[in-house]
């Protein structure tokens, strides 16, 4: 085990090279609905129990199923109303289980990125070959069902190995060259994109996917009220928008149809979306578009600046 994952260098949040988003936008804004499939009877994993109760663990399973049966269409219609294309963090087995959801999301030109096969299959304990196979399966499944070359990754249930980002980038290259496997949502260390060190040397970015704004963290972990969540979304935006005048920032709202689409929660979410998209200098976009834009325009400058800053007082 390592003291530090080694994916990125220290990079102070001051005097960075200015990022200018398309059309002078101050904030790149994206919404990442997690569209997940949890299994009723998942296999055991020695490192993590999928459910707190013996299977069938109804409380957790049925609430996730609600998200697919009822919640998805509600959130989809809301995002459409505000001109937002979702960037779907996808349990790729859902392509087989619920192709209707894939079809309607594809028709709206949403992005699909990999969130593993099922959200009840954890990376913990996998050999490198097993994890590679799982990731490859997920990227191939997305391509087969949507024609998209999977650009991003969020490990299933945020379960990682030391090799996760390397493997995702490598499998992306193997299947589709530099068009796939270019960004990760697994790291929460910054409000701007960050170059990531990979053993392959591939150009690859971490794109902020805020755990703090994640509805499941807000509702299940912090247990805040819907109206409070709506206010936190606006507060988060206000600060990133103000700082975006200095250098472009990113705001992400990661959601789950079984949380944010509930009847008692969707109004507060809508108010925040209306507020954010009501600003003209916001780039309403997808994870892949942000990653590609950063890699094409700012990756090299960022690397150079990181090196300069770390040399200023000598390397550690």
């Amino acid at each position: 085990m390592k003291e530090d994952p080694g994916y990125y260098d220290y990079w102070p949040y001051e005097n960075r090279p200015k990022i200018e988003w398309p059309n002078g936008a101050k904030v790149a804004f994206w919404v990442a609905p997690n569209i997940e499939f949890y299994e009723l009877n998942p296999p055991d994993n020695p490192f993590r129990k999928p459910w707190p109760q013996p299977c069938p663990a109804l409380p957790g399973y049925t609430s996730r199923d609600w998200g697919n049966r009822v919640g998805h269409v509600r959130q989809m219609e809301l995002l459409e109303k505000y001109g937002i294309r979702g960037s779907i963090s996808l349990s790729t087995a859902l392509c087989d289980h619920h192709p209707e959801i894939i079809k309607m999301s594809k028709e709206r030109d949403w992005e699909f990125f990999s969130h593993g096969i099922y959200n009840t299959r954890y990376t913990y304990g996998m050999t490198e070959a097993q994890e590679r196979k799982m990731i490859k399966d997920s990227i191939e499944t997305i391509y087969k069902h949507t024609g998209q070359k999977c650009a991003g990754y969020l490990a299933p249930a945020l379960s990682h190995s030391e090799n996760t980002l390397d493997l995702f980038a490598e499998v992306g290259t193997e299947l589709f060259g530099n068009e796939a496997g270019i960004y990760s949502c697994d790291l929460f260390h910054d409000d701007q994109p960050t170059p990531i060190h990979l053993r392959s040397g591939k150009k690859f970015a971490s794109i902020p996917y805020s755990l703090e704004m994640n509805d499941t963290i807000a509702y299940l972990v912090q247990k805040i009220t819907p109206r409070r969540y709506g206010k936190e979304l606006k507060d988060n935006f206000d600060r990133l928008y103000a700082e975006g005048a200095q250098s472009g920032t990113i705001m992400c709202i990661p959601t789950h149809n079984y949380q944010v689409s509930n009847a008692h929660r969707i109004k507060a979410y809508e108010e925040a979306l209306e507020y954010i998209t009501g600003h003209s200098d916001v780039w309403v976009t997808t994870g892949k578009e942000i990653a590609q834009y950063f890699l094409d325009n700012y990756y090299d400058d960022s690397l150079a600046d990181i090196e300069t800053k770390n040399k200023k007082y000598g390397n550690a």
Binding site: Q53, W66, V70, V73, A93, R121, T127, M134, T225
Partner: protein
């Protein structure tokens, strides 16, 4: 580091629909719209949990949410739950009558057996009673011995039927937890609808070995215990969330057909002196609303079934 067998990358249920055969995969928006009687848009199902949490809780296979948490004898949790059946419930009944609400009562059979006054009060009101299992410590769970569960369900229903004189066709498992056999055993024992699967906003057909049950949507998300005791929101926040939910469902009913606002409430939670006003606020708003149909769980099931 332990490694995983390659079976971990096998997915035998990875195909169209669900990963089990209990119900069909279906999205709410694709279903036929339901029309409630008299052109009402939202059916209001006020479901009152009347519960008995035994002091000598065994917690098999887990401690029920809301149950005892301290070493025996946990008088604080025992008596605070009991408060609901002595005091809180009578505040509830008064509020229901004031605001023209038709409640449904989900009762632990052991509670009905222990307090004849309470069960007869409900019985004389003529409100529907459904079975909430034996008591809050008799959980139904995966891996449970089937003959043990069979006996538990049979005893819970037979006793409650005898004590209430009602058919008792509805069921909620304690903690909404089930074994793999629970739905089959419920249908075998005369249950028509159950409320354990919180995966929809409308009723749907749930397959069992003895014909279909109706799965009824009773969201945990709006449950007073969940919002107030689990999420630690104020009772005023509970009322705000119910009203926001109602407004959304009312709006959705314009395009999607009749909707259900199902409130699962407990007299030991909302029946407290500082909380009851927020239940009253909600009931006043909903009970007097022209688009609301306040009715029992069975009435909702019957109308839904007649329009399938």
């Amino acid at each position: 580091m332990a490694t995983l067998n390659d079976d971990y990358l096998q997915y035998p249920e990875r195909s169209y629909g669900m990963d089990h055969d209990r119900y069909e995969w279906s999205m709410l928006q694709d279903r036929k719209a339901v029309q409630w009687p008299d052109g009402k848009k939202v059916a209001l199902w006020v479901n009152v949990g009347l519960q008995f949490f035994p002091l000598n809780q065994k917690g098999i296979p887990f401690k029920v949410p809301g149950g005892m948490t301290k070493p025996y004898p946990d008088l604080r949790h025992y008596s605070l739950r009991d408060y609901g059946n002595r005091v809180g419930i009578y505040r509830f009944l008064k509020a229901f009558d004031t605001y023209n609400i038709t409640p449904t009562f989900a009762m632990n059979t052991r509670l009905a057996e222990r307090i004849p006054y309470l069960v007869n009060t409900i019985k004389e009101r003529g409100d529907e009673i459904m079975c909430h299992g034996w008591d809050m410590d008799k959980l139904h769970y995966g891996g449970q011995d089937v003959s043990e569960e069979k006996e538990l369900i049979k005893k819970s229903l037979e006793t409650l039927r005898k004590l209430t004189g009602q058919d008792i066709t509805g069921w909620i498992s304690p903690a909404k937890n089930e074994s793999e056999n629970t739905p089959d055993l419920l249908s075998e024992n005369g249950i028509n609808y159950f409320c354990d699967w919180v995966n929809d906003d409308m009723p749907y057909d749930f397959k069992t070995k003895n014909g279909a049950l109706t799965a009824m949507p009773l969201p945990t998300e709006l449950d007073d215990y969940f919002i107030i005791n689990n999420n630690l929101h104020s009772s005023e926040d509970w009322a705000d969330q119910i009203e926001d939910a109602f407004e959304f469902l009312l709006k959705e009913s314009n395009t999607g057909g009749g909707r259900i606002l199902a409130l699962n409430i407990h007299p030991w939670v909302l029946g407290q002196p500082h909380r009851i006003q927020y239940l009253e606020r909600v009931l006043e708003k909903l009970g007097g609303h022209p688009d609301v149909w306040s009715t029992s769980a069975t009435s909702i099931v019957n109308v839904w079934k007649s329009q399938k």
